[in-house]
Amino acid sequence: MLGPHAKPLRFEINEEEAQHFALLFQHGVFIRCTTGVTIEELLVAHFGFTRDYLEKRLTTVFLDGAPVDDISEAPVGDGMALALSSSMPGLAGATLRRKGTLSSMRRSITYHHEDGRPAPVHAGHITIKLFNILAQEMGPILMKHGICIDALKLAEFIRLSPQKVQLVSAMGKNTIKDPEEFIRMLEQHASRKVEIVAG
């Protein structure tokens, strides 16, 4: 989690390059946002997604690992982890779906609002994970608001994704031509967070 005085290294990327960071979201990224509001409010009011989009595409949702059926009732508190996915295969995938016909099969891990802690509304940070198709669809939009990630995680991401390195190498004012140089720089700041903003 980001500390109150953390100063992340900041990089800007071109909007069209954001797509190439989609895979980063499966690891979880930190996002500054209004916390204490429901998942639906957060995604609609803060990030600009439409309710129609959420209804059709956001079919599997986890809050701190608990499957959520009603996103209009589940508040995202400061420090919580929100994971989003489209519809998944398998009996387990169908079971984890929001309001699915098989949802009772996972009732012991289901998110229950009445069991949750009170979540006051204020500015905070949450972890967002985007899986599968949603990482491609929602990731670039979230990146316009800026995402934060551990420097070492970003270094590992670049190292394991050779086809994307060229895109990382051209980043606005902080242009670094050589991906290896970028990785070395990230490793030198191993304890820092990196903020990436799609401009």
């Binding site: 499966q26 998944m88 398998g90 984890l96 949802s103 994970k129 086809q163």
Partner: protein, 578 residues
């Protein structure tokens, strides 16, 4: 597809065969047919590797037609792993080709008295059964390659590797895919050992000169198939998630849900999950010149498979399935997707069920034989299986044997079959199916299919806490019926969510056979199959005490949700109350 080919491997000096009408088995296909034949003709108490057992290989009711997704092959026997009835199914080309050759089933019977290895060649001109001892000791890939050199690249093969020859109870039967690779396996329950006990290494199928099966009402069939395909293509699972990422798209999801069994079911999350996820795998496949979207048989429109290459662009394996990635990944604490893909290939070649073998490898790690996370040591253990060393034979005999030999008390099996990649403490409804399935622990025995449309057993309110048992029952009934059609189980999602897709499936069956099947008939078929299987198992010695999960699932809570499996035994005993 009105005839059965029976091959008596134990007849006199040489095997003999006869072709007969379907007779009492008319109207059945796939799992319905394999289970009916086994129940009618195999003594339930026989030894699975004896001459009394039979291996039934059956395409589905729709196989060999133009119906999309109809290439699933059912293989039935008395299982040497569970001791109960078994239907294990596979994709690949054989179902379509066998059906076009006109066979509703091939039944291997008896057992040779001599130590020869046989191959069977089936084409439009008939059947040849030949001794081919040159195939002895070959892996599936080398054996298939030899057949392709001899008969041409157009042939389709059903084969066993070294594991089947050694009659190991985790052994599979391989089916070739569109590229002629023996990469699609009927793995669960050890059917490869039964084929090995019949001394049949290879079945070569050649449908040259045969045509696609023609429906009684071609127009209606074509229209229904079109609607069916449209349903699959517009559904988020079959039209997007599976084609883009394959079944391994589930790794991140199950991990997030805390239902991803890790370190032999000690934990519900694996720190290395994102390194071996479907998203990561698809990205690597694209970058390395492999393929993230690929069908396992002609007529597949979902195309959930792929080609996994190494960093130099060389073929490593077909895209490993989610359950394979899990059994060698989180279960073993391995987060190296390249090495997991390598193990997938090795097991396809030796002819092993990747779930059973992966779980057994994890148990070897639990026992301290090798360390958790040591992928190279796991590969070495697979080589022990290939060589047939005593240690290799133990691992190749599956999870229950491995756990027993190494004195473990946390052995995730039901009826002797390894529990797959979904923790039943997190998704308890799945635990009900694991416990009560006639097949042993099986994630596909009660698939997420059209129970809501079929109204099997009435409507179950998903928001009520009750219903785990009812849902599992209904899903098992519906799945048994779907397994008879030859349809890939992944059509289930569109059937569940898009009513006209389900109707189209019924219409295809009706227009193909000139019948008037209703959803009620589908339910009746599913119930009939389960009753046949259940009855066989009862006669084989199974009681309600076999319909239980291992005790540790009740006693040991799994983090992060710290839940146990708490469905009462009395509830489990109600699953088959129909």
């Amino acid at each position: 597809m009105e005839k059965i080919l029976r091959i008596n491997m134990g007849a006199g000096e040489s095997p003999t065969f006869q072709v007969s009408p379907l007779g009492e088995f008319a109207g059945l296909g796939g799992r319905g047919l394999t289970s009916a034949v086994i129940a009618a003709e195999v003594p339930p108490t026989c030894h699975p590797l004896s001459a009394e057992n039979k291996l039934v290989i059956a395409p589905g009711l729709l196989s060999g037609t133009m119906a999309a997704m109809s290439g699933r092959l059912s293989i039935g026997c008395k299982s040497p792993l569970t001791g109960g009835i078994k239907e294990s199914n596979a994709g690949g080309q054989p179902a379509q080709v066998l059906a076009r050759l006109g066979y509703a089933a091939v039944v291997l019977e008896g057992k040779p008295k001599r130590d020869d290895l046989f191959r069977i060649i089936i084409n439009k001109d008939g059947v040849k059964i030949e001794v081919d001892n040159s195939l002895k000791g070959l892996g599936n890939y080398a054996a298939v390659e030899r057949m392709r050199k001899e008969f041409g690249d157009h042939i389709v093969c059903i084969s066993i590797g070294q594991a089947g020859e050694m009659r190991l109870t985790a052994s599979s039967i391989a089916c070739t895919d569109m590229e002629g690779r023996p990469a699609r396996h009927a793995g669960r329950g050890g059917p490869g050992a039964v084929m090995g006990s019949k001394c049949v290494k290879m079945i070569v199928l050649d449908d040259t000169g045969m045509s696609t099966r023609q429906p009684r009402d071609p127009e209606k069939f074509r229209a229904a198939n079109k609607i069916f395909i449209e349903g699959l293509r517009k559904h988020a699972v079959t039209g997007e998630a599976l084609p883009a990422y394959g079944t391994n798209v589930l790794t991140n999801i199950l991990n997030e849900a805390g239902g991803y069994p890790t370190y032999n079911f000690k934990e519900g999350r694996f720190a290395g999950a994102s390194k071996i996820s479907g998203e990561t795998m698809a990205s690597l496949e694209a970058a390395r010149g492999g393929m993230a979207t690929h069908g396992c048989h002609r007529g597949c429109v979902i195309r959930c498979s792929g080609i996994y290459n190494d960093k130099d662009g060389h073929f490593v394996s077909k895209q490993p399935e989610y359950e394979t990635v899990w059994s060698h990944g989180g279960h073993c604490g391995i987060d190296d997707i390249d090495k997991i893909a390598r193990m997938d290939f090795i097991e396809d070649d030796i002819g092993l069920d990747t779930i059973e073998t992966g779980v057994a490898l994890g148990l070897a790690m639990e026992a301290g034989l090798v360390k958790y996370g040591d992928a190279d040591a796991a590969i070495d253990l697979l080589k022990e299986i290939e060589k047939g060393t005593p240690l290799g034979r133990i691992i190749g005999s599956g999870a229950a044997v491995t756990g027993r030999v190494f004195g473990l008390d946390r052995v995730p099996v039901v009826k002797g079959q390894a529990i797959p990649a979904y923790d039943p403490r997190a998704v308890k409804g799945l635990g009900v199916t694991y416990a009560t399935s006639t097949m042993g622990a099986d994630h596909t025995a009660g698939y997420a299919t059209a129970t809501n449309i079929l109204k099997v057993g009435g409507f179950v309110d998903p928001l009520k806490p009750e219903g785990q048992v009812e849902l599992s029952r209904n899903l098992q009934i519906a799945t048994a019926a779907i397994d008879s059609t030859g349809m890939c189980v992944f059509v289930a999602f569109a059937l569940m969510d898009i009513p006209e897709t389900f109707t189209a499936l019924i219409d295809m069956l009706n227009s193909l056979y000139g019948i008037d099947l209703t959803p009620d008939n589908v339910v009746e078929l599913g119930q009939k199959i389960l009753k046949i299987e259940r009855d066989f198992n009862a006669k084989a010695g199974f009681t309600k005490e076999h319909d239980r999960l291992p005790a540790f699932f009740k006693a040991q809570a799994v983090p992060p949700h710290n839940v146990t499996f708490d469905v009462p035994d009395e509830e489990l005993d109600k699953v088959f109350n129909f």
